[in-house]
């Protein structure tokens, strides 16, 4: 079953991105915060020590419930948020200092495709202006007409043909699928090292999702752009990713080969997640694993395993210390006291 997954491993072995213990802590806001924690030292630990690396052309899927920090992590990777701890390296270069020193060079390396295609573009600008702006900023193309030519080519490549037809349209005149394609085109115009795709299909109608997923797959194959694919949809993530990381309250609890994770989830959270995910095939009737409650907000979690309060197989140990990494081989890592090598 996991055969197809391993066969589509990235060909190049060059590491393009590595995240080392990255953290994003927000001071808990005191105003109108519903949960009303009062002590001063509280932090919302949106991302709390995440490690992973990404090879050229590799697609890493990140799944987890809302609030698990996956979107924040995406933002950290493209420099929309500055990590409060840890380091991100692009091909060995430290990202934060790059962003401070030469922001444009940073922007060229890291791009993002957003969740909401209907909001990705200024409704007042037409596609031509939207696409040529990054070119202008980064000094690509010597004249307006040349830049227009570049845009045309990119659009055609992305299957938006004929390009002239689209160039002078405004965002509201395109469908969600088309807009998301334009969004990918724009991100790729700068030939980035890697791309974060943050829930790129969740706002799209089911019938047009395939189109975007396939476009991303094609991209990673053709231009070997590494992709971090963030989604709450497990089947979509599995469809597109080489590897999958499961996040819970700001931490990766399990990471490994996509099919391996889906078919042999080890962490209780992953198991609950996958078992509760309904299948489109009515023959696959499964009973979800019951866990308690819903993910709490990541305000000072711990000291034990963050998942322990909801876990169906907690032990005493889980409540006291955060579990160490357990290497299950083949790149399958899990952080759980209850899983033994």
């Amino acid at each position: 079953m996991s055969g197809t997954g391993t066969s589509s491993r990235p060909t190049g072995h060059e590491e393009v991105l590595s995240a080392v213990e990255i953290q994003k802590w927000y001071p808990a806001r005191r105003q109108i915060l519903r949960l009303g924690h009062k002590d001063g030292g509280t932090f919302v630990k949106a991302v709390d020590g995440v490690n992973f690396s990404l090879r050229k052309g590799e697609i890493l899927g990140v799944i987890g419930e809302s609030g698990c920090g996956k979107s924040t992590m995406g933002k950290l990777l493209v420099g929309l948020e500055v990590p409060t701890g840890g380091k991100i390296y692009f091909q060995g270069q430290e990202a934060t200092s790059l962003l401070k020193g030469d922001a444009k060079a940073f922007r060229r390396k890291a791009q993002i495709v957003f969740q909401n295609p209907f909001d990705t573009f200024d409704p007042r600008h037409n596609i031509a202006s939207i696409l040529s702006t990054p070119l202008k900023i980064h000094g690509i193309g010597s004249s307006d007409s040349e830049r227009k030519e570049i845009c045309c080519q990119a659009l055609e490549q992305a299957g938006l043909r004929p390009a002239r037809e689209y160039l002078f349209r405004f965002p509201h005149e395109l469908s969600g699928g088309q807009l998301q394609r334009v969004s990918i085109v724009r991100a790729m115009l700068l030939k980035p090292l890697f791309l974060v795709a943050d829930e790129p299909v969740s706002m799209l109608d089911v019938s047009v999702r395939a189109d975007i997923l396939n476009a991303l797959l094609q991209l990673s194959e053709e231009s070997s752009t590494a992709i971090v694919f963030i989604s709450h949809d497990i089947s979509v993530t599995r469809y597109i990713s080489h590897r999958i990381a499961v996040m819970y309250l700001g931490r990766i609890v399990e990471i490994g080969d996509a099919d391996e994770i889906i078919s042999h989830p080890c962490h209780p959270y992953t198991r609950a997640l996958i078992s509760n995910f309904p299948s489109a095939d009515p023959r696959e009737a499964r009973e979800g694993i019951q866990i308690q409650g819903e993910p709490p907000t990541p305000v000072n979690p711990g000291p034990g395993c963050y998942f322990a309060p909801r876990c169906f197989m907690t032990s005493e140990e889980c409540l006291h210390s955060y579990p160490e990494e357990v290497d299950l081989g083949g790149g399958h890592l899990v952080w759980c006291h209850m899983v033994q090598r």
């Binding site: 909401n116 909001d119 990705t120 200024d122 007042r124 002078f168 969004s183 700068l190």
Partner: protein, 290 residues
């Protein structure tokens, strides 16, 4: 060719705007009033039967054939004065509202978009200005520093911007979180460029609507100042007509009455337009058509 296409789109979006706007009867009425008022302002010298400053010999003559709306206590033709007063009211209203709109947009845009300490400081300032008893402040300044029209316009403009700033700030705050603004950051646009290319153009609509309303309130403020005798004596303004006419209220009621009506109609025109714009331009209110 591209330009034509762009122009065509522009025309179309104007058309759409007009469709949405013109579907509101009240807004159209407001526009008609405005057109009338502007026409009167431009044509005042040509359609006025008299020079508004000409001191005729019949004082306090009742409205009649000779003087459509009568004469005032100095023998001036009230109708001509009201026609000429249109210019002053419009000028004071529009200039001060524009000033307030511009300051508000810039301050609010910077505050909301830049965020952080800048925002904290600016919004505190906005709050402070919002808490100022504005009319009193205007009154003090105009009373103490002199009541020329320029003073009045500047003071109204300088004291009425916080409302606009707050609107623009709210817009900027929400626009800042919008994907296309974040996207602009990711493709490497600078903060200043984002402010002027994305934040202000997309967030200015409520400010435009509000500025329209402010024209109305500036006209009312000017009238209020004039009523306290703090209008510019060198020009004919409606507020001053009411103020002057107040002395003749029982014997020549027409002076204050008609000038007041001119204010009501004009101010209403701006309010109607402002509301209409709000409904078209402010997405929150878009459903609430009347």
């Amino acid at each position: 060719m591209d330009e034509n296409a762009a122009r065509a789109r522009f025309t179309r979006s104007l058309k759409e705007f007009w469709m949405a706007y013109s579907s509101q009867k009240q807004a159209v009425a407001g526009l008609l009033i405005l057109l009338l008022v502007v026409a009167v302002a431009f044509l005042a010298p040509y359609i006025s039967p008299y020079d508004p400053n000409y001191l005729g010999d019949t004082l306090m003559e009742a409205p009649g054939r000779q003087h459509l709306l009568g004469t005032d206590g100095m023998g001036r033709d009230v109708f001509s004065m009201i026609l000429h007063g249109t210019r002053v009211s419009l000028l004071v209203g529009v200039i001060s509202a524009l000033l307030s709109g511009m300051i508000g947009t810039l301050v609010g845009g910077i505050s909301g978009f830049f965020g952080g300490t800048v925002d904290a400081v600016i919004s505190e300032i906005i709050d402070i200005f919002l808490m100022l008893p504005t009319f009193f402040l205007i009154l003090i300044i105009v009373a103490m520093f002199g009541s020329s029209m320029l003073n009045v316009m500047i003071v109204i403009g300088l004291t009425s911007w916080p409302g606009n700033a707050r609107l623009m700030r709210a817009q900027a705050l929400s626009l800042r979180e919008r994907t296309f603004v974040i996207g602009a950051k990711v493709i490497g646009e600078s903060r200043g460029s984002i402010l002027f290319r994305y934040i202000i153009p997309n967030g200015i609509f409520p400010v435009i609507a509000n500025t329209t309303m402010q024209v109305a309130s500036a006209i009312l403020t000017e009238a209020g100042l004039s009523f306290l005798g703090l209008g510019d004596p060198n020009v004919v303004s409606w507020g001053r007509l009411i103020y002057d006419g107040r002395a003749y209220l029982t014997s020549a009621w027409w002076i204050s009455t008609f000038a007041g009506m001119a204010i009501v109609v004009t101010v209403m025109g701006f309010y109607l337009i402002g509301d209409g714009l709000n409904r078209v331009l402010n997405p929150k209110l878009r459903d609430e058509r009347q």
